[in-house]
């Protein structure tokens, strides 16, 4: 008897074990994956909704006609339309009415960019764009499978472009998708499409790379190095939202290339978000100094120096440090903010000053101080008057220094306290070197 029992258990183990060997659950071959390199999320346009509603209605009417012919479905009532254009279809089942959930007309459009791995050499490596609509971001993202044909692989996604209409509607669902889905990376870079939809920017062609999203990613990292714009990753965005409910994202737009008219993607300004909704843009000029003020543009910002309206020199900033000093009045209804910025810079270009002369250098530094102060003040005032919210994170510094005080004024900060704040900017420039030149190029006539 024992031998039979042993044999029986042995067979059971073999069967169990063989279950492991037949290509397990998570086994995925490389070529069966569609590697997604870029994605964009937009709201579905109203024209598309109209079209979809009509289509759904037509289908429903044809369903009813068919059911009328069918003897079993005699007792069906005609479909009712509610206000949003949805169609409800109460069904009957054994004499009871069961209302069937008919989902809302699709809200989100998610465009994905995958790489075509066709065996034909001229097609390999080219980007394929697909788009799908869904009620939620997750649904729309998953629906792309039916156009791509392969299993979607979001793990290598580095870039997510948010369309302007979606940004205005609110990006909370998108961020939830990015954090929660196990395949998405938290370090995905986010950006807002200014004036267009995300899909357009993703599809915009560019001559250097076959895959647009790689191009956009390298553009943003290079631009961040040159302090023209900055790269915001999803975890950073969520963090800033969590602190005060205010955050910023780079804005990207399409412009025709002046050389050949092809559309190219250009970073133009900063988008300002409050409570997950887009409230406006900072123009490019102001955004340069915004980045400066929050300490994101340490290196290689070129600052043109003007004297009496004329361009005389430019500085190449190497290092900058921003300190904020503040002072409240007696009843804490107004705050006086003073920004002290220390800059170390090289001379970028010099047309006028004599670099060997100490006084000239001092004059250049003073001019630089004046110029930069003006521009930063302009930026601060722009923010105050147009948005009235603190996108510079000054509130966080006050919270860190005086926690108990912050608890009392927290509610008022973005609702008037910052807007009515008195601003002062002080810049101290230190000019280190003239790069490769000792002095400016002189003309022969001058003494």
């Amino acid at each position: 008897m024992k031998k039979i029992v042993k044999f029986f258990f042995f067979c059971c183990f073999c069967l169990l074990g063989s279950g492991f060997l037949c290509g397990c659950w998570q086994y995925q071959e490389l070529e069966k994956l569609a590697v997604i390199t870029g994605a964009a999320a937009d709201l579905v346009k109203p024209e598309d909704i109209e079209q979809k509603t009509q289509q759904a209605q037509k289908k429903h009417e044809s369903d009813i006609d068919e059911a009328a012919k069918d003897p079993q479905g005699k007792n069906e009532e005609p479909a009712k339309e509610n206000k949003t254009g949805d169609t409800e279809k109460p069904q009957q089942h054994d004499g009871k009415k069961v209302s069937v959930y008919q989902p809302e007309i699709d809200k989100y459009l998610v465009t994905t960019e995958t790489v075509d791995l066709d065996t034909k050499p001229e097609n390999t490596g080219r980007a394929l764009n697909t788009a799908a609509m869904g009620d939620t971001i997750l649904e729309a993202a998953r629906k792309n499978t039916q156009y791509v044909g392969k299993d979607l692989y979001w793990t290598h996604l580095n870039l997510f472009i948010i369309g302007e209409d979606m940004a205005k509607d609110g990006v909370q669902s998108l961020l939830d998708f990015i954090c929660r889905y196990y395949q998405m990376k938290l370090s995905t870079s986010l950006m807002v499409a200014k004036g267009t939809s995300g899909a357009d920017i993703l599809k915009g062609s560019n001559p250097s790379e076959r895959i647009p999203s790689f191009n956009i990613m390298s553009t943003i990292t290079n631009n961040a190095k040159h302090a023209i714009t900055y790269q915001v990753k999803a975890n950073q965005f969520i963090n800033d939202m969590g602190m005060q409910g205010i955050s910023t994202l780079p804005a990207v737009t399409i412009q025709p290339d002046p050389n050949n008219g092809n559309p190219i993607t250009v970073f133009d300004g900063i988008a300002v978000f409050q409570d997950y909704k887009l409230i406006g843009y900072l123009p490019q000029q102001e955004s340069l100094y915004y980045l400066f003020a929050i300490g994101q543009s340490n290196t290689n910002l070129i600052v043109p120096i003007e004297k009496d309206g004329q361009l005389v020199a430019s500085l190449d900033i190497q290092k900058s440090k921003t300190k904020m000093k503040y002072e409240f009045n007696e009843d804490y209804s107004q705050i006086q903010l003073k920004l002290v910025i220390q800059i170390r810079a090289n001379i970028g270009e010099n047309m006028v000053f004599n670099e060997q002369d100490k006084q000239d250098i001092q004059e250049l530094a003073a001019l630089a101080n004046q110029n930069i102060e003006e521009r930063i003040m302009h930026c601060l005032q722009y923010v105050q008057s147009n948005f009235g919210i603190d996108i510079f994170n000054f509130g966080a510094e006050i919270e860190a220094k005086q926690t108990q005080l912050w608890k009392t004024i927290e509610q008022k900060w973005n609702h008037g306290l910052f807007r009515d704040a008195l601003l002062q900017v002080e810049v101290k420039t230190e000019i280190i070197s003239g790069s490769a030149l000792k002095n400016r190029i002189e003309m022969g006539n001058e003494g």
């Binding site: 492991f20 397990c24 659950w25 998570q26 793990t155 954090c179 196990y182 990376k185 938290l186 370090s187 990753k233 975890n235 950073q236 969520i238 963090n239 939202m241 969590g242 602190m243 994170n393 966080a396 510094e397 919270e399 860190a400 926690t403």
Partner: protein
């Protein structure tokens, strides 16, 4: 019964890994929030005298392990009942660790696999450890821990490139009470559970190494390690994100972007967590096996291995099926084991001290 000896270094390594296992993955305590590090520190300071009590208890009863002491002091029947309680606790804890590990892998990468398929591998390797004995595990960890630690430290350093200065580092934002509640919670999970590790020791007399000093140093290093982990998570992810993530340490390592080649190494980092869960499960089940050995007066613990594995496998599958249940267990139910972990050994120790004092007095009296 085979005599098993482990060296001080091996014990320190085991303690380190065991204490780290639960906390490495989890982030902040729900109650204490951003001040979790303070509650951790508090718990560590409070648990140190308890560790000394465990060691002293074992020293005062030479050649006896924890279960023999229980039987001797509490009497045979009560002792057996208490041993049963401890064994049950150890089995539940082991199942919890197994289920934790399976859910972690299931959530982050092996999403298609059913939980039992992931748990089977852990079950097999723990079964082998039970058959081989405690000594083999100690030697194994002596070889593995340096590598593991190096990996953890390296990924910690790599994530520093992504860290932001903690702009709003708040100190005692919600007051002192949450810190104490969090500290009490940390006391029973994970620090109090070290009793299971001390309970595996037979004989604490050793000339080469000083056990209290070793334990002190290990506790200090462990706390330092967990706290640095916590601060790193805080600076990389930010307080808002950290409080909502299930596995903050893992998510923090997804942000590593040190170069083209070292981009997404979190699959390799997740192997660390797998190994630490393995240590915890094996130690808990070894403790349970020892308890069963003293209950049924057997010679070897290897004969209990299949039963223990099957029981904990079943409990892990049916009692801890979801992450939500696990978190509930950690945050609410694990509170209630502190009498078993802390009070009972304290009582045993006091009893032993008094008894030995009495005997000494008797001896001096009779001498006079």
């Amino acid at each position: 019964m085979k005599k098993e000896t482990i060296s001080g270094k091996q014990f320190a390594f085991l303690l380190f890994m065991y204490l780290n296992s639960g906390v490495l993955l989890m982030g902040q305590n729900a109650v204490a929030g951003a001040d979790s590090w303070l509650s951790l520190l508090l718990a560590a300071i409070c648990i140190l005298p308890f560790y000394f009590i465990y060691i002293d208890l074992l020293k005062r009863h030479p050649q006896k392990d924890f279960f023999a002491i229980l039987k001797e002091i509490c009497g045979p029947k009560l002792g057996k009942f208490l041993i049963t309680l401890y064994v049950l606790y150890a089995i539940v804890l082991a199942s919890f660790a197994m289920s934790n590990h399976a859910q972690f892998l299931h959530t982050i990468s092996l999403i298609g696999m059913p939980l039992w398929a992931i748990m089977i591998f852990m079950a097999i390797i723990v079964f082998l450890v039970l058959r081989m004995g405690f000594e083999v595990l100690a030697r194994w960890i002596e070889m593995v821990l340096p590598v593991l630690l190096a990996m953890l430290v390296l990924t910690g350093i790599l994530t520093l490139t992504e860290s932001h200065t903690i702009d709003n580092f708040t100190f005692l934002y919600d007051g002192v009470k949450p810190v104490f509640i969090g500290g009490f919670h940390f006391l029973s999970f994970p620090f109090g559970e070290a009793l299971l590790l001390f309970g595996l020791l037979d004989n604490v007399k050793c000339k080469k190494w000083n056990l209290p000093k070793t334990v002190c140093l290990t506790l200090f290093l462990t706390t330092l390690f967990i706290m640095s982990n916590f601060f790193r998570n805080l600076s990389v992810l930010g307080p808002n994100l950290m409080s909502i993530l299930n596995y903050p340490t893992y998510e923090a390592s997804t942000l590593i972007d040190a170069g083209i080649f070292i981009e997404r190494i979190e699959s390799i980092v997740s192997t660390n967590f797998v190994l630490s869960d393995f240590i915890k499960t094996s130690i808990c089940l070894l403790f349970a096996a020892r308890g069963l050995q003293s209950l049924f007066n057997q010679r070897e613990i290897a004969c209990f291995a299949p039963y223990l594995i099957l029981i904990s496998f079943a409990i892990a599958l049916f009692v801890f099926p979801s992450i939500i249940m696990n978190q509930l267990w950690i945050e609410q139910i694990s509170y209630w084991f502190w009498p078993l972990l802390l009070l009972l050994p304290l009582f045993l120790w006091l009893f032993t001290v008094l008894q030995q004092k009495r005997e000494k007095n008797k001896a001096t009296k009779s001498a006079c």
